[in-house]
Symmetry: C2
Subunit: 253 residues, 2 copies
């Protein structure tokens, strides 16, 4: 097949699944460490604290994508992502469930929301994702969400592993993940059909694959940074140190 000849939709899907099989962050040693019970309490805290920023920016990213869609039908589909994360009323939604997790790990809620303890690498990676969705083509912005094709597997592995190995987590504190697989399935079904329909030329198809590779980088960089700071122990200046940002009797009240 010539490099310029378009792939069939099935070939494109296979190429996208190959990106997942070779670059998704379930292959990262930090993921293995987390779900196999090798993380210390402080390492789980660091993971949840940093990952909060990713969670909190996902609806901002999705609103960016939404603002670029010209079709009501597409926007209705995409809007569900924002609803999932923000909920329909106070106390609901994925971000709120993530804050339940960080609170159950002892963090002060306002400290987590301030994001002042997160790693600079986390911040740069998450902001790169939002900027990508604002600046690249809509097709690439949609394609960059396709890591959700691979997330149900990692979530099941993470939840069962964490419940088996850590007495400081429970089904209730991991409630964020209970809702995710069905949402991710619905969202990735839409996004996969979208890119298979709209990426017709080989140039567009290569851009779609590149967008998914970019997104795997966004996730990988976050785990690399956690590893360097909290497993290897080289905490950068200004980042959270174990014991900081915790609930006091007042803030927990």
């Amino acid at each position: 097949m010539s490099a310029r000849e378009p792939m069939s939709p099935q070939e494109l899907e296979a190429a996208l699944r190959h990106v997942g099989a070779t670059r998704y962050h379930n292959l990262h040693p930090f993921h293995k460490r987390l779900h196999s019970g090798q993380c210390t309490f402080e390492q789980v805290q660091a993971w949840a604290l940093n990952r909060y920023y990713y969670q909190a920016m996902i609806p901002v990213k999705d609103a960016t994508v939404l603002s670029r869609m010209n079709s009501s039908a597409d926007r209705r589909e995409w809007r569900k992502r924002i609803e999932d994360h923000d909920g329909t009323r106070e106390g609901e939604g994925g971000i709120e469930r993530w804050l339940k997790l960080t609170e159950s790990l002892g963090f002060d809620r306002d400290y987590v929301i301030s994001t002042r303890g997160i790693l600079a690498a986390t911040r740069f990676a998450v902001e790169a994702y939002v900027n990508f969705c604002a600046q690249k083509s809509l097709l690439e912005a949609v394609a960059s969400s396709l890591t959700e094709l691979f997330s149900p597997g990692i979530i099941n592995e993470r939840v069962s592993g964490m419940l088996a190995h850590y007495d400081f987590v429970s089904r209730e504190t991991l409630a964020y993940f209970t809702a995710r697989p069905a949402q991710a399935q619905r969202d990735s079904d839409f996004a996969l059909a979208y890119v298979k329909q709209h990426a017709k030329s080989r140039v567009e198809q290569d851009a779609v694959i590149g967008a998914l590779e970019f997104k795997t980088d966004v996730l990988w960089v976050q785990l690399d940074a956690l590893w360097g700071a909290y497993v290897a122990g080289a905490i950068p200046p200004g980042a959270w140190r174990p014991g900081e940002g915790l609930q006091t009797r007042e803030s927990a009240a």
Copy 2:
């Protein structure tokens, strides 16, 4: 002193110098390793390859700042930064001198320029810097350049250390650094005077200090990523591996 009371210009300068003393990347273990001769040839290659992207984007960053300045006098000063990096004719300027360094380390010029082997963390950090200068206030954009206050020291340490310890570098291949201390001195004199003059309220002064902290993060993240990939050995998917991107007899001709 109340938290809201403005600092004097001298106090602001002292606060900025304190950021350098506690967060500048001369404190990073990779810097120590590089200038003390502990880096392998491949680690020096990885450093030069990744740092190329930072060098190449500096005039893009400076053009962004330039586009936000309303005064001819300020623009005339700031323009010098772009001239330093781009030169006045083909074959001149800081980027070209950096490419001389990567070529002397065996890299194919086009491979370096493509940036396809750089670490994702390098890319995200450098792009965060450009976006910061586009999106924050002009005062913060100017302040974020102030790491140049601290660069003459690190450059002298780096050049003398590298010349003493590595037989694969020479004064000629390190020519980039010969020109930098005087340029950095001139540029940081201007930027320091600018922020001392324009940051009058405590809020503005805090923003200036925050901008310099942000910039130290941009530099620190790059060395953290080099350490993780090429010292600890966890090279992320897609990043350069030793032996890749080198000159062939053809490309060196």
